[in-house]
C-alpha cells in the first residue's frame, strides 16, 4: 500500500527538493570524485568519453527496463535478446549488402527494431495472456535467445560483411560536436522515455499498474495491454542498443550481452525505480548505468585492489550506493 501512496504523491510535493530522486546523481558525483582522487587520467577527455559511450548500452536497455519494472514486471531476457537481435541484424545486413550496398545498414537497423519489438511483444503476450510470472517467462526466453545466437553463430562468431564495416563504424566511434553518437542516442531515448512516462496517459497507467494492479483495473485501465506495451518498449530499446553495439566489434558471439540483464536491473534499481513497481525514474537509470561503468573503470585505474577482489569491491560499492539511496529517501 505504501507504494500506492507514494505514486499518488506528486501534488503534495510541489517545489520541494526531492532528495530521494537526487540520490543516484549524488552517488554518481561521489564516484566521479573518487575517480579524480585516485588517478589524474580519470578526467582526461578520452577516458570520460570512452566510459560514457560504453555505458550507453546498459543505459538504453535500462530505459526500457524502467518501464517493465515500473509495471511490476521483470525482464531477464534482455542480454540474450540483445545478442539474438544483433545476430539477426548482422545476417540481414550481410544478405542485403551485395544488392543495395551501404543501404543495407539502415535496412538492417530497421529489421533489428522490428525483431526487437516482436521479441518484446512475445514476452509480453506470454506473460499477460498466459498469466505466467514475468520472471519465469523471461528466464525461459533468456535461454531460447541465447541458444539461437549460439546456433546462428555455430558457437563461433557472426561477423558483419567487410564492405559495410567502415561505413557503419562511426555509429559507435563517431561524434557530433564532440559528443559520441551512442551518448546522443542515449539522451534521445531517455528524453522520449521520460516524456512517455511523465507526460502521457500511458506513463501514468504504467506506474498505476505497478502500484496496484487491482485498483488500476477497477479504474478502467487495461492492465494486460499496459504491461505488454512495456515489454514492447523494452524490446525496442534492446534493438536500439544492438544497433549501437554492432559497429563496436563488428560481430556477435555466444557471449555477447552475457549477464547484461543483471547490470540493467542493477542500473534501474540504483537509479531509484522500485523493484516491486509503482515508481519509475528514467534519468536515475541513466545515472545508474554510468555509476556501474565508472566503478569498473576506476577499479582498473587504481592499484589498490588485487585482481581477484575487483568484483567484491564493485559489489560493495553498489550496496553502499543503495544504502545511501535508502537513507536520503528516509528524510
Amino acid at each position: 500500500m505504501s507504494s500506492a501512496e507514494r505514486a499518488a504523491g506528486p501534488q503534495s510535493e510541489g517545489f520541494k527538493i526531492r532528495w530521494g530522486d537526487l540520490a543516484p546523481f549524488i552517488a554518481l558525483a561521489m564516484i566521479v570524485l573518487l575517480g579524480v582522487l585516485i588517478n589524474s587520467n580519470f578526467m582526461s577527455g578520452n577516458n570520460i568519453l570512452n566510459v560514457m559511450t560504453r555505458s550507453a548500452f546498459i543505459a538504453i536497455i535500462g530505459v526500457g527496463a524502467t518501464f517493465v519494472i515500473a509495471t511490476g514486471g521483470l525482464d531477464l531476457s534482455v542480454g540474450s535478446m540483445m545478442a539474438f537481435v544483433t545476430g539477426i541484424m548482422i545476417m540481414a545486413m550481410n544478405a542485403m549488402a551485395p544488392a543495395i550496398g551501404v543501404w543495407a545498414i539502415p535496412a538492417g537497423a530497421l529489421v533489428a527494431l522490428v525483431v526487437g519489438s516482436l521479441c518484446g511483444l512475445m514476452n509480453g503476450m506470454i506473460i499477460t495472456v498466459g498469466r505466467i510470472e514475468p520472471f519465469i517467462v523471461t528466464l525461459g526466453t533468456m535461454g531460447i535467445f541465447r541458444a539461437f545466437i549460439t546456433f546462428m553463430s555455430d558457437g563461433g562468431s557472426l561477423s558483419i560483411d567487410r564492405s559495410l564495416r567502415s561505413a557503419y563504424r562511426p555509429v559507435y566511434f563517431g561524434d557530433f560536436l564532440g559528443i559520441p553518437y551512442p551518448v546522443l542516442i542515449t539522451i534521445v531515448i531517455a528524453l522520449v522515455g521520460a516524456f512517455l512516462l511523465y507526460r502521457t496517459k500511458y506513463g501514468r497507467r504504467v506506474t498505476a499498474v505497478g502500484s496496484n494492479a487491482d485498483v488500476a483495473r477497477f479504474s478502467g485501465v487495461h492492465v494486460g495491454r499496459v504491461r505488454t506495451l512495456a515489454f514492447v518498449i523494452q524490446g525496442f530499446c534492446v534493438a536500439v542498443a544492438a544497433i549501437c553495439y554492432v559497429p563496436r566489434l563488428g560481430a556477435a558471439t555466444p557471449t555477447t550481452g552475457q549477464l547484461w540483464e543483471l547490470q540493467v536491473i542493477t542500473a534501474v534499481v540504483i537509479g531509484g525505480t522500485l523493484l516491486r513497481g509503482g515508481k519509475a525514474h528514467i534519468w536515475g537509470t541513466v545515472a545508474g548505468a554510468l555509476i556501474l561503468e565508472i566503478i569498473a573503470n576506476v577499479m582498473v585505474l587504481s592499484d589498490m585492489v588485487s585482481e581477484y577482489l575487483v568484483a567484491a569491491v564493485q559489489g560493495a560499492i553498489i550496496i553502499i550506493a543503495m544504502l545511501a539511496h535508502r537513507f536520503t529517501k528516509a528524510r
Partner: protein
C-alpha cells in the same frame, strides 16, 4: 475415443518396432561404441571443439564401419554428469572420450563409467584422480604462456612495459599466466597491469580502453586468448596508439591465423591451444579398437609458435573458431 487410442497405440507400437529393428541392425554391423562427452558451444573455443568432434565423428565412422561414435554436448558440469549417466545407461560403451567441464566434479561419475570396463580417454582438463584414465590428451598451457613470453622477450630486447589480460579464473588460465610470468620475471620487462576479461571480446575491449587511458606507454599486450585479442586490437586501433608494438593472443582462432598468414606487424605470431585436440583424442581412442595400436599413456600436444611459414597447418577455414 476408443478408436483414437487404438490408433495411437498401433502407431507407437510400429514406431517402437521400427526403432528396435533399426538399433538391432545397427548393433549388428557396429562392434564398438565410442561416446564423446564435451562442453556445449558457449564461446569460440568450445565452438571449435564441437566442430572438430563432429568432423572426427564423420571421418571415423566412414573409415571404420565397425565403430559407432556418439557425440554429446553439455552446458554445465551438472549437465555433463547427467549426460554421462544417460550415455552409460542406454549404451554399452566400449570407450568414453571426455573433455571434463571441471576436474573435481566429473571425477566420481567418470570413475563410475570406468568401473564397467569402459576405456577412458580424458582430454584437456585432467581428472582429480589420473589413475582412472587409460589415455590422456592435452595441450600444454604452461608452454602457451612461456613460448609467447620467450618470443616477446626476444623481440623487445628484454626490456619494456606490457599489460596482460586474464581469462576466467581456472586452472587453464592460471597455468598460462604462470608460464608467461615465469619467463617475464627473469627479464627487465615490467608487467604494468593484469586483470580478468573472462575470455570475452567485449570485456577485453573495455579493459584495454582502461589500460590505454591509464598508461601513456605500453610496448606490448598479451591477451592469453584470441577472442580477447580481437577486442584488444579494436580498442588500440580506435585510440590510434602506435606505441603498442605487439599484441598477442593464443589458441589459434581462425581470424588471428589469417592475420599471422598475412604477416601482420603487430600480431605476427600466435600459439596454438587447438580445439582440434578432441579429434586427436578420438582418433587415438579409435585406434585402440580398430587398429593393432594399443593406446595407453599421456599425450601432450606441443605449443609451437604459429608463424607465417607454418600457419597453414593450423588453419581450418570451415571451423567456426
Amino acid at each position: 475415443m476408443k478408436t483414437r487410442h487404438q490408433g495411437v497405440a498401433t502407431l507407437s507400437a510400429a514406431v517402437v518396432a521400427g526403432l528396435l529393428a533399426a538399433t538391432a541392425a545397427q548393433a549388428q554391423d557396429k562392434e564398438f561404441t565410442i561416446a564423446v562427452s564435451i562442453p556445449a558451444a558457449t564461446h569460440g573455443w568450445t565452438g571449435g571443439v564441437v566442430y572438430h568432434a563432429q568432423e572426427a565423428e564423420k571421418q571415423l565412422e566412414a573409415a571404420f564401419p565397425n565403430i559407432d561414435v556418439i557425440v554429446s554436448t553439455a552446458s554445465s558440469a551438472t549437465a555433463q554428469v547427467s549426460s554421462l549417466e544417460d550415455l552409460s545407461a542406454t549404451n554399452e560403451l566400449d570407450a568414453l572420450v571426455i573433455l571434463p567441464f571441471t576436474s573435481e566434479e566429473l571425477t566420481g561419475p567418470v570413475e563410475q563409467v570406468a568401473s564397467n570396463g569402459t576405456f577412458i580417454t580424458v582430454v584437456d582438463r585432467g581428472l582429480a584422480d589420473p589413475s582412472i584414465q587409460d589415455l590422456y590428451v592435452a595441450g600444454d598451457n604452461i608452454a602457451v604462456g612461456a613460448n609467447t613470453a620467450k618470443w616477446l622477450v626476444d623481440k623487445l630486447g628484454g626490456e619494456g612495459e606490457i599489460v596482460v589480460l586474464r581469462g576466467i579464473p581456472t586452472v587453464i588460465d592460471d597455468e598460462r599466466i604462470k608460464g608467461f610470468r615465469d619467463v617475464i620475471d627473469e627479464t627487465d620487462i615490467e608487467i604494468l597491469d593484469i586483470q580478468y576479461a573472462n575470455w570475452n571480446q567485449d570485456e577485453a575491449f573495455t579493459l584495454m580502453q582502461d589500460y590505454l587511458a591509464r598508461y601513456p606507454n605500453i610496448d606490448a599486450v598479451w591477451a592469453n586468448d584470441d577472442d580477447m585479442l580481437l577486442g584488444v586490437l579494436e580498442a588500440v586501433d580506435e585510440a590510434g596508439r602506435d606505441d603498442i608494438k605487439y599484441a598477442l593472443g593464443g589458441n589459434g582462432m581462425k581470424q588471428v591465423i589469417e592475420m599471422v598468414k598475412a604477416g601482420d606487424e603487430r600480431t605476427p605470431i600466435s600459439t596454438p591451444y587447438p580445439p582440434s585436440m578432441i579429434a586427436s583424442a578420438m582418433y587415438m581412442t579409435a585406434a585402440q579398437f580398430a587398429g593393432q595400436a594399443p593406446m595407453r599413456g599421456s599425450f601432450k600436444l606441443d605449443a609451437p609458435l604459429i608463424t607465417p611459414e607454418n600457419a597453414d597447418q593450423f588453419y581450418f577455414p570451415d571451423s567456426p573458431f
